[in-house]
């Protein structure tokens, strides 16, 4: 008797299927299964409920036990910049975050820095009304950096607590659009020390492995401080954030669970890990 525990290969295969179907991706999945196999080879036999809690522990470890609190400016408005590819929920999430902040007694200005897409400004204005935030906008096709700058200046002048900059959706493969985003960030940095204090990548939970490329390019371009994972009210599990956290160390801040103004929750790593594999 070697003392080596039986590794139930069928069970491991089943767990691998669960993780892959949750969009963890083959790389993150294989590393988690390897950790599991290692643990079970150290002698303790691993049944499926033990395996599941070991996997959840590992996922929580990768995601970070407790996401750090949002950064705050030392003086002047705290600036949050929302970025991401097209259609992920940036504008909606901007409205939800604004509403949450206004409800807690903070004052909020929204910068309508998507000056390109049809009715983008009108869409944000509706969210301004719903949340109680003021919307700063320019003409369509104007310079997004100029809108961001104006919004910051208006915020600073009026003693506003938060300025949230909603940017246009852009594919990370479009270098001219990524340059435009870098300019928005530079201009904010010149307007206010440390701005933007938070840069949140908005990721659609239905996204597959491409989310990793999105995170990599946006992180290299403007530096990410967090992720907002949207549309978790669907059937997609959003497992790609595990790979994002593991590779870039960017924590998930909030999850979007619907289209209404209150459909935003702070991220709970344990609850999320349990939803991926249970």
């Amino acid at each position: 008797f070697t003392g080596k525990a039986q590794v139930d290969e069928d069970m491991l295969e089943e767990l691998e299927a669960v993780l892959i179907q949750a969009d963890l991706g083959i790389k993150a999945t294989q590393s988690i299964i390897a950790t599991l196999r290692e643990q079970s080879e150290r002698g303790k036999p691993v049944d499926s409920s033990t395996a599941i809690s070991l996997i959840q522990e590992e996922i929580v470890r990768i995601l970070g036990e407790k996401p750090p609190t949002m950064a705050r400016a030392e003086s002047g408005p705290t600036v949050i910049m929302m970025v991401g590819v097209n259609g992920t929920g940036k504008t909606t999430s901007t409205g939800k975050i604004a509403s949450m902040l206004c409800a807690s007694g903070k004052s909020v200005v929204l910068a309508a820095a998507d000056t390109f897409r049809a009715a983008a400004i009108e869409q944000l204005e509706v969210w301004g009304r719903r949340s109680g935030a003021t919307v700063i906008k320019h003409q369509e096709s104007s310079d997004p950096a100029a809108v961001a700058f104006d919004a910051f200046e208006a915020g600073r002048a009026r003693g506003i607590d938060y300025v949230i900059v909603d940017t246009a959706g852009r594919l990370h493969t479009k270098s001219n659009l990524m340059e435009e985003l870098k300019k928005v960030k530079r201009v904010l940095g010149r307007a206010g020390t440390g701005a933007p204090h938070e840069t949140l990548l908005v990721v659609d939970a239905t996204t597959g492995q491409n989310a990793i490329a999105q995170a990599r390019v946006f992180n290299e371009a403007v530096g990410l401080t967090g992720v907002v994972l949207t549309k978790l009210d669907g059937t997609a599990r959003g497992g790609i954030v595990v790979a994002i956290c593991s590779e870039f160390g960017v924590p998930v801040r909030y999850v979007g669970v619907g289209e209404g103004v209150d459909d935003l929750r702070p991220f709970d790593p344990r609850e999320f890990a349990a939803s991926l594999v249970s």
Binding site: D23, E125, Q209, N210, K231, A236
Partner: protein, 292 residues
Amino acid sequence: NLSAKLQDVFKNLRNRGRLTEKDVDLALKEVRMALLEADVNFKVTKDFVASVKARAIGSAVLESLTPAQQVIKIVFEELTALMGGQSAKIAFANKPPTLVMLVGLQGSGKTTTCAKLASLLRKQGKRPMMAAADVYRPAAIKQLQVLGSQLNIEVFTLGDKADPADIAAGAVERARSFGYDTVLLDTAGRLHIDEEMMVELERIRARVSPHEVLLVVDAMTGQDAVNVATTFNERMGIDGVVLTKLDGDARGGAALSVRAVTGKPIKFVATGEKLDALEPFHPDRMSSRILG
């Protein structure tokens, strides 16, 4: 990439002389990895690899001097055959107007695709109009109206307090009286598990009997693509798929997943934010993209 990985697999096995089934299994492991990395659904991948194996074992792979190339060739051919083969055109009604309805998850690109399709059909000699049936999303109607005015294509609306089925019916009526031969109906994004919203789609369909229902799917969709496609197909009966945002670098495995579970063809691909960025689907190009 897959070709290089397969070369490696077979290089190491080469010295043992003739290849065995076990050697092919090693190669298929790489194929499976490549498909999963490309976001092809887990179960669809399993079935696909099994069909590739059946062909690989039965074919010249075991005898071949270039087994890696043989495997790639089989995979590429199987993928292309699976995704192609069906008519990828819109089926126009014998008696106009033809009603084309766009459905899908939130943010997949329906509104933009609606305008692009209207523009494309006009270039093909049709007289299209659009109908704004998304009464939920802030400024959704405005969004379609702005696109309509950019194209100089009429957008029918009853405002955001109206019932989407009434909007659809009103649009068809408008088309009949003004001689439009195609109506492109833009609907609100919705979850396939939102019962109320799926019932709304069924009510619209019952009311106006669309000739063509197109499911709009984001090319970066992961494993969830099969759940979405299956449900929309079961509830609505889709006639085809539009795959959007192919101007990015998503491998687009969702294309294979959706085709495999619904049997419906991908009719168009959207390749940008501009209104001329809509092309017919090419299964061979999609296959090489998926294989990376």
